[in-house]
């Protein structure tokens, strides 16, 4: 995607043979996502303008009523801010740590294979089970985190991690970071591995030191993969459900909820599908705006 913003062809009218090949290549994918994702999503979006019964079936037209009711909820602002805090608080550290880790793992060193195997563990385990485990670990009385901190003489009295959003939310973000690091690192690592040796050799020959190589060769060539990984991470984490649902379930009073967990509660516990659909639309708009902004920011340098 070296020339991502340049999508126009010279010939404006006839579809070239090469283009035909491209369209055929796209077809299966397009059909798949349209049938499985777009069709239901469009239905959901449309339904956000309707009042629905207790089981998600459309009843009558309601205009913007669902959105009005959503914005009237006291807790909505808090949930929205939580979501931003959650997403940025997780994406930024994850990317930084993963980048460093992937650069490190890109080298041959003793224990590399073992390190990679360990790295894969949080990714290999289901998020729900990891979350359950962490909920147990963070318990103030019988949890291992306090025990460990105690043994390392970092704390004297038990910290009640889950008792208040001030400690429970950061704790859950920490869990999310641990869970996100593996796949981010592996993805970046694959990107690093694609950088041809010749470039490094040439730089060596020219006498460049390591820092220069990092900033002049490695990082720029990693830009594409980096952009993809950050964007996908952002979107993925924004919608990350199991960690919060398993550990605090939004307690107390939705104060540790993010949009997706709040949506689930509204949809399946309140059975208020109107608000749930409105929330889906809002989520989509937010993520779309982010993606476009981020792409523009990252690529406006090139032109």
């Amino acid at each position: 995607m070296n020339d991502m913003r340049n999508g126009y062809l010279v010939k404006a009218t006839k579809i070239t043979r090469t283009e035909k090949v491209a369209y055929v290549c796209l077809l299966p994918s397009l059909v798949l996502v349209t049938a499985v994702i777009f069709y239901p999503v469009i239905k959901t979006f449309i339904s956000s303008f309707f009042a629905m019964d207790l089981y998600g079936n459309i009843e009558h037209f309601a205009g913007l009523n669902n959105f009005k009711r959503l914005f009237k909820e006291d807790i909505f602002i808090r949930v929205f801010i939580n979501t931003l805090y959650w997403t940025l608080g997780m994406v930024v550290p994850t990317i930084i740590i993963s980048l460093i880790l992937s650069l490190a793992l890109n080298n041959r060193f003793f224990g590399r294979k073992f390190s990679r195997a360990i790295l894969i563990l949080p990714w290999a385990a289901s998020i729900m089970i990891s979350a359950l485990l962490w909920r147990w670990l963070f318990n103030g009385e019988y949890g291992m985190v306090n025990r460990l901190l105690h043994d390392l003489h970092i704390i004297k009295n038990n910290i009640h991690w889950l008792a208040s959003p001030k400690t429970s939310f950061p704790a859950m973000i920490f869990v999310g970071i641990i869970i996100s690091i593996p796949f981010t690192t592996v993805t970046l690592l694959a990107g690093l591995q694609s950088i041809p040796d010749e470039l490094y050799e040439a730089a060596r020959v020219d006498g460049a030191n390591k820092i220069k190589v990092l900033f002049k060769i490695t990082l720029p060539l990693l830009k594409t993969v980096f952009f993809i990984v950050t964007t996908l991470n952002f979107i993925y984490i924004f919608n990350s459900f199991p960690i919060i649902w398993v550990i605090t379930r939004g307690n107390p009073a939705n104060q540790t909820d993010i949009i997706i967990t709040y949506l689930y509660e509204k949809a399946f516990l309140y059975q208020d599908f109107g608000i749930a659909s409105a929330l889906s639309v809002i989520t989509f708009l937010l993520l779309l705006i982010f993606s476009v902004l981020y792409a523009w920011l990252l690529y406006r340098a090139e032109d």
Binding site: M1, M4, G7, Y8, L9, T18, E19, A22, Y23, C25, L26, P28, S29, L32, V33, V36, I37, P40, V41, K43, I97, L101, A104, F109, F110, R116, I118, I120, P122, A124, A125, S126, I127, M128, I129, L132, L133, Y142, R147, I178, F183, V186, T187, L189, A190, I195, P196, E198, Y200, R204, V205, V225, T231, L232, Y236, Y264, A276, S280, T283, L287
Partner: protein, 289 residues
């Protein structure tokens, strides 16, 4: 080929810089790995504990009694072998279908400058912006309409759709970072486009393909919501549902749960170890020439 060193450096410079490098690497990698492995250590230790050692305050590190029997018992409680098989079917099926569908699309986006290229990319990205929670009811209705409830295919197709965005973006990224010239040279030499892709591009892009395969496999292996909703018969249960046999309304059998969870991660780790060498490329050397 890995990283910053080549054989052209002198052995002395190599020695010192290498040492500093190793220290830096270990200083970074070890703490992070320790934090990552911490819950898994706890998982394994708990899986070996008897029930009366789990809720103790302050908690013990090591089990007072090692209960290997836990690992035997779990196979009795639930149909574990069966769940493993189903998980395998869903994960492998999804991975194959996803790659099969995403690879051509990624190739087109990366290599062909067609009209609507950016639109397609963003369209695909948009599909990632919807959590399955948002569409689960409509999806279920659709599967019911196509008489596909309680089938393997409903799961595999749905999973493959949700993984298109990630796969296409990732594969496109990796393809793009490989210079076009290599294939074009081959095509000028008389190779067909298809042949060039198969024999040149794909081997060079192996790290990217491997990363994608790992991602999709793990995603499918661990997915819960969709399979929970679509499947109502335990014949088709994967491990993620089977594990719930240990999470009751009033009581969680932690030791068994941890034992099963640990076993659940093993195939993934094994898969990873088998193909991780591909994450190491080293095939570009000399290719441009």
């Amino acid at each position: 080929m890995h990283g910053f060193y080549t054989e052209q450096r002198t052995k002395m410079k190599l020695g010192l810089e290498r040492k500093i490098n190793f220290i830096l690497i270990y200083a970074v990698v070890i703490p992070i790995l320790l934090i990552i492995i911490f819950p898994f250590l706890v998982m394994v230790l708990t899986s070996l504990k008897p029930s009366d050692e789990i809720y103790v305050s302050p908690p013990y590190w090591l089990p007072k009694k090692l209960l290997y029997k836990n690992y035997v018992d779990i196979w009795r409680y639930v149909r574990l072998a069966h769940y493993f098989t189903n998980s395998g079917i869903y994960a492998i099926g999804t991975t194959v279908l996803t790659i099969f569908v995403a690879l051509p699309a990624s190739y087109a986006v990366a290599r062909i400058n067609f009209r609507g290229r950016m639109a397609f990319l963003f369209l695909i990205l948009v599909t990632q912006m919807f959590s399955p929670i948002v569409v689960i009811i409509s999806l279920y209705k659709m599967m019911a309409f196509y008489h596909s409830l309680n089938t393997y295919r409903s799961i595999i197709i749905t999973y493959a759709a949700f993984n298109q965005a990630f796969s296409i973006w990732l594969l496109t990224g990796y393809f793009s970072s490989i210079p076009k010239d290599i294939e074009e040279a081959a095509m000028i030499d008389g190779c067909s486009r298809f042949s060039a892709v198969l024999r040149i591009l794909i081997p060079l892009a192996k790290p990217g393909i491997v990363a994608t395969v790992i991602f999709v496999f793990i995603w499918a292996w661990n997915e819960f919501l969709i399979v929970f909703t679509f499947i109502s018969t335990d014949k088709l249960w994967p491990l993620t549902l089977g594990i719930y046999g240990f999470i009751g309304k009033y009581k969680i059998l932690w030791n068994y749960l941890m034992a099963v969870s640990f076993l659940t991660t093993l195939p993934v780790v094994v898969l990873f170890l088998l193909i991780e060498k591909q994450l190491v490329s080293g095939l570009t050397a000399g290719a441009i020439k």
